[in-house]
């Protein structure tokens, strides 16, 4: 009984070897038919291109079983290895080992937590049949190896992997918590960007400025195009100017604030002032750094600053970008600019529909009241300061003299009273 129930070890070994041989033969034969994905497009809808043979590094499994080795590349370096989500989306399971060496990360299962064991957790059983087709009594696979994935769609994969980032990058996650993207996500928009959407998976690198300026265009194309034609975008594109802001300089990298949020409007002058009040940076371009202080001195700026203080209810006052434009900011000298003299009245009318031709002159154009720029206002200011000072000086002088005179009078009266009391004329009570 015992012998029948438990076959001898040599029998197990021979069956296993036979199966392995069959698998090898199958894989070798199918290799010519395998279609590889273009590298770098993992996660996107796969563009399938025929390829002659796998690179020499991506040797198919030879001897040891992937089940035993725990080496991800044993399977995933096979070109054309594809996953199929429940919705029928194809998802490349192929991964170029060379890219992996370039990334900042070096351990697959650190992020792919659910794929730590093999077979992978929650993998549907029909996936086994892809390799073990013979055992399943299925015909030999004809085409790329396609595995059934336990995910609804490809987005579910990205979202699951994204949670792994938190394990190391907790700070970034804290920043993200308040971002408009997280808020969008919480409104059941699963396509709001997560880590891997910007920090491309597997090729994770620190985002540089040139790349950063285009990164957002994946979703915000219109804004990117407007930016590229702006005074900032042109300088970046044409001269690779590193002083100009890119998307995240204004919007933030992780803590992306919604541009319609109160906080964004309130901090707008600080956002622009970060560069435009910086002497060193502005000197190169001969731009006045008074723009921030003159804005804050005026009604709009002061209101914006004050609305940031506790108790602010509504934020309706003009921020920098209301006049200068949002992404399509142009130099004020540019006749197309919203703040060019010819366009100023129209710009004012955006908030003040009744603004007449005189109205834009109520704004001093970021100029200080000085004898060069505003002689009339300077004269008025001087007159007011001098006349008010003269009045105050008169008040103080008059009061000082009055105090002195009253004291002298009291003394004289006291002396007179003493004289009288000396004469025996006591003052009646």
């Amino acid at each position: 009984m015992n012998k029948r129930a438990f076959p001898a070890p040599w029998k197990i070994l021979s069956i296993f070897t036979g199966l392995m041989l069959l698998a090898w033969v199958n894989l070798t034969l199918s290799a010519g038919r395998v279609q590889a994905l273009t590298p770098g497009q993992a996660g996107a809808t796969p563009t399938v291109t025929p390829t002659a043979a796998p690179p020499p590094d991506e040797q198919p499994i030879t001897s040891a079983s992937p089940h035993a080795t725990g080496d991800c590349f044993a399977c995933h370096s096979q070109a054309g290895m594809t996953g199929m989500t429940k919705d029928g989306d194809e998802y490349s399971l192929y991964f170029d080992k060379f890219h992996y060496q370039d990334t900042l990360h070096s351990n697959c299962v650190f992020c792919h937590v659910n794929q730590k064991s093999y077979p992978h957790d929650s993998s549907p059983t029909q996936s086994c049949a892809v390799c073990h087709w013979e055992a399943a009594g299925a015909p030999a696979p004809d085409g790329p190896l396609t595995f059934q994935l336990p995910y609804e769609d490809t987005r579910a994969i990205a979202l699951e992997i994204n949670a792994s980032c938190m394990r190391c990058h907790g700070e970034a996650f804290k920043e993200i918590e308040t971002s408009v993207h997280t808020r969008t996500m919480s409104k059941d928009n699963r396509f709001a960007p997560v880590c891997v959407d910007c920090h491309t998976p597997h090729v994770i690198k620190i985002i540089n400025r040139q790349y950063g300026a285009q990164l957002c265009s994946k979703c915000h194309l219109a804004q990117t195009i407007a930016y590229e034609s702006s005074v900032h975008g042109t300088a970046l594109k044409a001269e690779n100017n590193q002083d100009v802001p890119i998307c995240d300089d204004c919007h933030g990298a992780h803590s992306v604030i919604g541009p319609r949020d109160a906080a964004f409007r309130l901090d707008a002058f600080e956002m622009c002032g970060k560069c435009h009040a910086d002497e060193n940076r502005m000197r190169k371009y001969n731009i006045s750094t008074d723009v921030l202080s003159t804005y804050l001195d005026d009604f709009h700026g002061r209101s914006s600053d004050l609305f940031g203080k506790p108790g602010a209810a509504k934020i309706t006052k003009a921020a920098c970008y209301d006049c200068h434009g949002v992404h399509n900011i142009l130099s004020p000298e540019n006749p197309e600019s919203k703040v060019a003299a010819a366009n100023l009245q129209r710009t004012c009318q955006e908030c003040h529909p009744d603004a007449n031709a005189n109205f834009p002159a109520a704004w001093l154009g970021h100029k200080r009241v000085s004898i060069q720029d505003e002689p009339a206002l300077f004269a008025l200011q001087l007159f007011l300061i001098l006349s008010v000072s003269a009045v105050v000086v008169f008040f103080v002088a008059y009061i000082t003299l009055d105090i002195g005179r009253r004291r002298a009078k009291r003394k004289a009266e006291a002396a007179a009273a003493e004289t009288k009391s000396g004469d025996g004329e006591g003052k009646p009570q």
Binding site: F359, P360, V388, I399
Partner: protein, 318 residues
Amino acid sequence: MSANKTRISPRRPKPYTFQISWRDAMESAMRLRTDHKGRRYVNRFSTAAAIEHFVLLLSFVILGITGFAQTFYNTALGSHTLELFGGIDSLRQVHHAFAFILGISVGYHLLNYANDLIVYRRSGGIWFDHADWSLLFRLGRSKRPTEFGRYTFAEKISYWATAFAILALGASGLAQLFPIWVSEVLPGRAVPAAKLTHFWMAVLLAAVVLVWHAYDVLIRKVNLSIFTGNMSIKDMEDDHPLELHYLEAAAGAVNSQDWPLILEIAREDEPPILEKKTESKPAVEARRETTAPQETPKNTEPVEGQKDEAASQDSVEG
């Protein structure tokens, strides 16, 4: 009133002349009062005037606090004030609301004055006259103060400086509140000009009230007659002798049969500068004739005369 040739400073002011009706005489008699201890006092201000002044004071304080908190919002005091008022929005609303209240008060004041002027034919005594320019007492060269009527020099300065500042503040404040209307009739630069004016007029008003008026009514002498309405005879003698003389003269003439009556209140001569002799017989006699019997006549020497008068008044008042 011929000039004395021996005097170097011969200027002698004309007496105040009033054309009074029986109503004025009755009103004067009613304003001369006696309290339960038998002390005489004068009713100077009506309840309406007290309320008006209280509204003015309240709106001055609130507008000053809310206004300067906006200007100096970056200071600790400014930001605390902003928090106290619940933020800039509500602070601005409070500022505008009290500006409106003050506007109403100013409107009432002007209508009231027009009523006084047109209906009652009273000019009110707030206008400057030549006595106001006699500042010799303050310059330390005279032995006695200039005599004033209903309002002293300090009160007139307070009034006109406040009036000027409030009108300028109102105009420049409205210009900032309605910049589009302003730019329809004026150049656009009128708005920043209004902003400058608003601030400096606020400084002027603060100086007038906190320096000049506070010294006049609180430090020099605590004078709350605008709120109580009443002033003691002693204070009237010191600060408003001519008004007291007028009241007494008018009250004394209440039984006259000849209306309207021309009332003359002689003023003290301008204080002499180089000569001690100051007697002005006609003026003093004229006053004796017109004043009520209880009025203590002026002595020949002003300083001594006033002192005696004050002493006798003290003895009357106990």
